[in-house]
Amino acid sequence: MKLEGKRLIWQEYQKEIADDHYFYARSCIRQTFFPGAEAVFVKIMKDELGKDIHDEQHHTSCTGIGYHADVVPFDTTMTVIARQFALMTEAGYENYAASCVTSFGLYTEVLETWHHFPEKEAQVREFLYKATGREFNKPKNLAHASDIVYKFRHQIAAKAKYKLIDKNTGEPLKVVEHIGCHYSKMFPHKGIGGAEYPYVLSGMIEAWGGEVIDYPERRHCCGFGFRQYIVQANRGFSLSCSKKKFDSMEPYQPDMIITNCPGCPMFLDRWQYALSEMEGKTYGKNNNGIPVFTYEEVAGMIMGYDPWKIGLQLHQVSAEPLLDKIGIPYDPLSKFKGKNGEDLGIPETPNYLKFYAD
């Protein structure tokens, strides 16, 4: 692979990202899947980078799941999104930061629609006003949260306690990056690095000391795909998509997977368990699996935050071997302890996938 070839493409796909004052809209499902991730983002933005970030409490779902599962009509979606923009306007912000990749994609789609069909925008303004009495300004800058972390990746690296490096050998860790489909596949110019060779996570990995793995099924969807997962009978297809990716990345012996989408880390993580239980097949060394993280969790890890405080115990594939490899300390005994030290209970031990719980 010629890196300079990719750099040429990356140069072409750059976007403007606001420097400060973000209106942050959280993701519906990330808050339950990996709740530490968004907390880490807000903490880093505020405490480490000193940015003004408004963590909005009153926003709703963007309707993305319903929209992509064909149960919510586009007019409804646009009106709901208009309400989010109204919240931003009311809070006095102009830069919209979406935590969710699907929301980001959908906001982009709506803004593009309004750009090409102003009459639609007018109609939606009317809908929103009639329904809620609210008015809104369109965001001046729309970014995905990963865009913002990408923008400040070097600042984060400068403050980090650890690097994505094997502490014993000094070799960079091999990192697979997985970009949510809705990040740039629909609007390549709205994503850093475009659709074919997105750079948003690669840039973080490089800046934080890791080595990016480009494997044949890199572009493939994780399998979440809304409809596939929601209907149980279709879940086999969802599972097979993840399996295809694992099989393809396996020869490169990756140390971890970093994602920027709500569904991807969930499925890439949990399907490793399902596959191991169904077929006895595990990936990674010593049946450890390949740990899957959100970019915020990785940022938190290298900043030296307590792994259990940033929610790494919620991962099915245990993070411990990787933490050991980097040299990040953790207390094994407090993995399943609550905020006040109470026992949260230990999950069932899988049959094949190694589980660290002592």
């Binding site: 692979m1 010629k2 070839g5 990719k6 040429l8 493409i9 475009g194 074919e196 060779y197 480009d214 494997y215 044949p216 099924e217 890199r218 572009r219 020869p251 490169y252």
Partner: protein, 338 residues
């Protein structure tokens, strides 16, 4: 007084029309932006369907040139101006000539395959273009991929930059199908044990002996033709290219690993030439190429009396078609200057 004609572009079309015009008794100046004449043909190892040498072909054409022809190389034409009944043609280096007629034989430019970024040209070492392959053939070196290995499988992707509205090229570049067949055969001749695959949308074997060459490719060389357009290519650990197409005749997606993937880059109208045609006020139609006055009756004439076109500046052509077009342009010029 002997009439003077400026021919712009010294590829096969420019050379051949100059030779004919000179033989018809005109004073001819042939302008070429490069140091040497011959155009794309200089870089082409062998021509379909006979596998005639590109070098020998251009030599034979040059041999036919009358010594009276003035050849102005390394001169990029920057201005053409119609003044009364003549044209003033000027170059970037101060060269200037008056001409009674101008023949545009500016040719084509090869589609820049970087633009199909999902194909990985410039990113994956073993994705090359048909032109790169031709250079490799011409070098006479042992046929290896970028890892220095003899590829066990070689794939050819048809219609790269042609028939693709995603890169604004609706047109068919005409010669890529038969070129792929030719190059596939050449690869097979060099590595008989290799498996060669062509990924095509349609096979347009329009010329004489093309179908025969295609049949030979199947029969004698066992080259496999898979109907389906490349969706994306990726690289595996060993630098092999993984190709994803749909086998449209089976209605199933197909995945195959090749050691070398050749993109059959199409023909485009060069933006640099567009400046010239704009200067003249010539019409470029949606495919970008110059529109003749009438595609059937006056294929070498333009809307501007005294400005003639020949070769691939008026649309993709094979070398033999280009040569015939160049001769016909010479006659059209002679008719005009009579």
């Amino acid at each position: 007084m002997q009439k003077h004609i400026v021919v712009i572009g010294a590829g096969p079309a420019g050379l051949e029309s100059s030779a004919n015009l000179s033989n018809l008794g005109f004073r001819v100046t042939l302008v070429e932006k490069e140091e040497v004449t011959g155009g794309h043909l200089n870089k082409w190892h062998a021509l379909f369907p006979s596998l005639a040498s590109g070098k020998h072909t251009i030599e034979a054409i040059v041999k036919g040139l009358n010594p009276g022809i003035k050849i102005q190389t390394a001169t990029k034409v920057t201005g053409i101006e119609a003044v009364n009944d003549y044209f003033t043609v000027s170059g970037h280096n101060g060269w200037q000539e008056k001409a009674d007629a101008v023949v545009l034989t500016t040719g084509f430019q090869l589609f820049d395959s970087h633009r199909k970024e999902e194909y990985g040209y410039g990113i994956y070492e073993n994705v090359i273009t048909s032109a790169d392959l031709e250079k490799q053939f011409a070098s006479g070196k042992e046929f290896v991929n970028r890892q220095g290995k003899k590829p066990e499988r070689v794939g050819f992707v048809h219609c790269v930059g042609s028939r693709d509205e995603k890169v604004n090229n609706l047109h068919c570049s005409k010669v890529c199908c038969i070129t792929a067949v030719k190059q596939a055969i050449e690869v097979k001749q060099m590595i008989p044990e290799a498996d060669v695959f062509c990924f095509y949308m349609d096979l347009r074997m329009f010329g004489r002996h093309y179908e025969e060459l295609y049949k030979q490719a199947q029969e004698k060389y066992n080259i496999q033709f898979i109907r389906g357009r490349l969706s994306e290519s990726t690289e595996d650990k060993d630098g092999n290219i993984i190709v994803k197409v749909e086998d449209t005749l089976l209605g199933k997606p197909l995945r195959i690993k090749v050691g070398l993937l050749v993109l059959m880059a199409g023909m485009e109208f060069p933006p640099a030439t567009k400046a010239l045609t704009n200067m003249l006020g010539l019409k470029n139609v949606s495919d970008g190429f110059i529109q003749p006055l009438d595609e059937v009756l006056h294929s070498n004439l333009t809307e501007i009396p005294g400005v003639f076109i020949a070769g691939t500046c008026s649309g993709p052509k094979s070398v033999s078609d280009t040569m015939a077009d160049a001769r016909s342009a010479a006659l059209a010029v002679a008719e005009y200057l009579k």
